[in-house]
Structures are given as C-alpha cells and as structure tokens.
Amino acid sequence: MFQKHVNKGNSSYKQIRSYNNLGLLKSLRSVEHAVIAGIYMKGWDRLLTRITSRKWERAAEVIFLLSALISVFSLAAITVYLFARGFPAIRKIGVINFMFGMQWNPAADNPSYGIFPMIYASAAGTAGAVFLSVPAGLSSAVLLAAVAPSSLAKFIRPCIDLLSGIPSVVYGYFGLTVIVPLISEYLGGPGNSLLAVIILLAVMILPTIIKISENSLRAVPVEIIQGSYALGATKIETVFKVMIPAAGPGILLSIVLGIGRAVGETMAVILVCGNAVQIPRSVLDMVRPMTANIALEMSYADPFHERVLFGTGIVLFMFISALNVVINVLSAHITGQKVSPHSKRVAKPAEIKNVQRNLPNNFLS
C-alpha cells in the first residue's frame, strides 16, 4: 500500500505540473487525484501517515501480542479446567485406589473406579508399537536419507506425508475390518486385542519416526561423513557408525514424539481394542486403554462418573506433559548444537546472483 501510494502521488503530481497553465481542474480526472495531489503537494501525507501509523503501530503490536498470548491462556485454561473437573473426584476415591485399583465398575451399586488396567493397556500398547515401529521406521529413514536412489526417495516421501495425513478413524476402520479378522483367523482369540492395537499404533507412528529421523540424518554435517569415507569405511558402516550416532538426539526425539502420539491416540484404538477392562494375559486378550475409556463412557456418564473420566484425562495429561518436557529438552539440545567450524558457509557468486534475482521486478521501480 505504501509503495502504491507513493507512485500514485508521484504520477499525478507530474501530470499536474505538465498541464500547468491549461487549467488545473481540467487535468484532474477524478476527485481522488485532486485529493492525493493536494495532500502530496502540501506535504500533508507524510504528516498524516505519521500520525495514523503511529496509532496503528501501537494498536497492531498489541493485537499481535494478544493473539500470541491466546496460546498461553489456552494452555492455562486446559490445565485448570481439567484439574478443577477431575481432581476432586480423584481425591474422593483416593489417589492410590484410583491409580492402582484393579476394579472398574462405575455402574454398580457400590461403584469402584480403579484405572490400573487401562494405564497398563496404554503403556503396553505404546511399548509394543514403539518396539515394532522403531526398526521399520529407522530403516526407512536410512533408506530415504542414504541408500535409496534419489528418484525413488522423491516418490516415497510424499507417500509418507500422506500416511501421516490419513485420519486416525480411517486407520481404526482398516484395523477393524482387515487386521482384526486376520488375527482371529490365524492366531485365535477374539481378534479385538492388544496385538491389533499394537500393530495399528505402530503403523500410525511410523510417519513421525521416519520423517524426523530422516531429517536429522540429513542434517549430519557432510564433513564427518566424508571423513568416514576417507578413513575407508563403507557406506553402510558410515551410516550405522557415524550418521546414526551423530543424529542420535533427533532419532530419539522422533521416538518420543511417536510415543506421545501413540499414548494419546483414541479413535483408531477404540475400534480395535475390544474395550474389556482387564490386565491382558497375552497380546491376544482384549484391553481398554485410557483414551478409549474416556471416549466410550463420556456419552452416558452420570456427573460423578464424568468427573472420574476427567480424572483419567488428568493421568493422560500428566504423562503427556512429562513427555513434553523430554521433547523440549531434546529439541533444545538439537537446535543448540554447534555446527562444526569447518562448515562455515561462504556465499558463492552464484548465490549472490540468486538473491538479486529473487527481488520482485517492481521492487526498485
């Protein structure tokens, strides 16, 4: 707007000057021109922009700040409301009874609210998923970053983006109609089982692990890779003995992020877990993780039961918060890593040309 404004003022001013003695009014095509020209000649526009912009400047900064603060308020509100709703119920039941109670029977005359089987199910499902997903994910990341030809990698990468974009409920439905029958046919049991949960969660956290591991493998400074080659290491040796240790924090971060996603996953899990509250004796037994418990019972819960479900939410929230601390530490470590002194980049002439080419055509006109 600023730029256009100057141009407009300038051109009409020139126009006016060139028609100087032919009568000013004839040359003005519109009221707008007159106003702009007048303001321009009197030097008012600078005054005007300065006054209005200073006001706006402050107002805009405040608006921007408030928008940014909304995230802080949201986090505070989420924490406060979750605890205000759920914590009184936990205290009434007793923290130990709630966390380590084995019986979940909210509908009985003498209701019992113990969520240990659900905590166990969440933990077992997540651990199993990570156990399956890390080798596959890390292999895929290595493949994409170092082994596969780049044309293949270019084809695979969007596929992985897509995999991460598929809604969890679609995964859940796929699990329900394909994986569950396969399990019950070949391994026995009801099919809806801890194993189904593990397989589904493993697939769902794969994209996270692949993407972030690949990025951190790619971020390994090229000098140490070349150094490894120079010492006579083969490609695979370089990948496993140099690149993966160097990218360690990033790979760890990808795994922790995957854990976070697996613990919080609801809609996929709910469709395949079988929803029986019990400590599974084998992977073929039905389970009910915490998220499934909340989503299943919320719709028909009486007020106290509802508060207990919020209490389940608190346990989940605490776990995720602990993971977040780990994530923050890891990512701070990664971004704070010093780049090796040898990789100081010096701008080449071609790059400077690129900078010039990047300027829009009308930028200096």
Partner: protein
Amino acid sequence: MPYWRKYRDYTIKTIVWIFALAALGFLFWILSDLVVKGLPNITLDFITGEYNEYKGINGIAPMIVTTIWIISVTLIVSGLIGVFAAIYLAEYSRPGPIVRFIRFALDNLAGIPSIIYGLFGYVFFKNMMKLGFSILSASLTLTIMVLPFIIGSTENALREVNRLYRDGSLALGATKLHTVMNIILPCAAPRIITTMLLTVGRIAGETAAVYFTAGTVYRYPEGIMSSGRTLSVHIYMLAKETGRRGETYASALLLVIFISLIHFIVNAALRAINAKRI
C-alpha cells in the same frame, strides 16, 4: 578391504530394504483396501443424499456440509489468530519472559492429544460458555488444537523472507507495520497458504475433539450454533455398526481422497515455491 565386509554390507542393506518395504507396503495395503472396497459404493446418490438410519437412506451430504462449516469457521478464527501471533513472534518479539512463556505454551499444546482437547472443549465451550453441541464450540476447540502448527510454520515462513526486502522497505521510510503488511506478508503468502491447506486436512480428519463438541446429529446444520456430525465422526459412528461396510468404506475413501488432494496440491505448490527461490 576384507571380503566379509562387503557381504555384511549387503546383508544389512537387504535388511534395511525389507523393513522399509514392509513399512511402505502397509501404506499401499491400506490405500488399495480403501479403494477396492470403497470405490464401488461411491455414487451420486450417496454423495448428495441425506442420511437416516430408520428410513434406510445412506447419503452423506449433511456430514459434508457440516465438515465444510467446521473447516471454514476454524480456518477463519485460527488463521487470523495464528498469523497475527506468528507476526508477533517473528517481527515484534524480543527475547524475554513473555516469548519464553508463549513458546512453552505452544510446545506443550502441540503434544496434547485430541481427546484432551475434546474434554476441554466439552467443559469450557459447551458447558461454561453455553455454546452447547455446536459447530462454533467444535471450531473454537479445533482452533486451539491447530494453533501451534499454524503459528510454527507461519513463523518459519515469515523468517525466511529475504532480509533485503525488510531492510529496503524500512530504508524507504515505511513503518514496521507497513513493512509487515505490504512486504513481508505478501512474500510469505504462498507458504502461509500451504500451511492453511495442511490445516484443512487436519481439521477434516479430526474425530475425538469434534465428537465431544459438535455432537453426532445427522441433520443439515442451520448455522454456526447448530449441532452436526462431521464426515470423520460419521465414519466412527458407522464403524461401530457392523452391517454398514460399504458406506463406511466409501466415506473413508472420500475423506482420504480429499486429504490426499490437499497433500498433492501442497507438495506441488512447495515444489514450485522452492523452484522459484533457487
């Protein structure tokens, strides 16, 4: 080089390929399953028809309309807030406690699972603010949920704008606000738009948070305050009943097609943007 190193390399390489192919094979399995079982069930009646389990009508038009409603309201609210917040973080903020608070909040919000957002929206927007099960309360809940993503990638987009433009504009006498609005935002616009597109994909696929805040009523929504069922919630509701395989697959396929379309456009756009830059 001892001869065995070569064979060890081959072995490890093979193992890597097998694992990776297994991972990718799963993706193609899911996609092909969806297409094979879903495609025959997608008809014009299905897309444009209403849904009523008692009358045996199996359309999904009301769900599509609700989904569009929720996407648009969420995008408007979260887009405004997100871009403004990103401008603050990228252009105005100075290192200090406020920025640390904001970043802490964003980092933590990004990790919270959607069911917690659902619970929060249920207590706060539905009960406290008395919005009821409505498109508005779902959209506000989703806004908080997508904010970290929008702010993060918009901030990156703003920071990637060439320094020369900023300095040039300031040197010409433009104020900071002018520079931000007329130079930096237009330069970052393509990246911001791709961010918004990806957000659309996330909103369309979200189930748990919407289930708790928008309800499961399968009518056409009459406005921002009416309850509704999005396509993803519809898939969940259908999935719980076993006899409705065809429709469920068809709905899931439509949702996945929509989201892959977005991903395809974003990929093409990002490629174009990067090509222009280099």
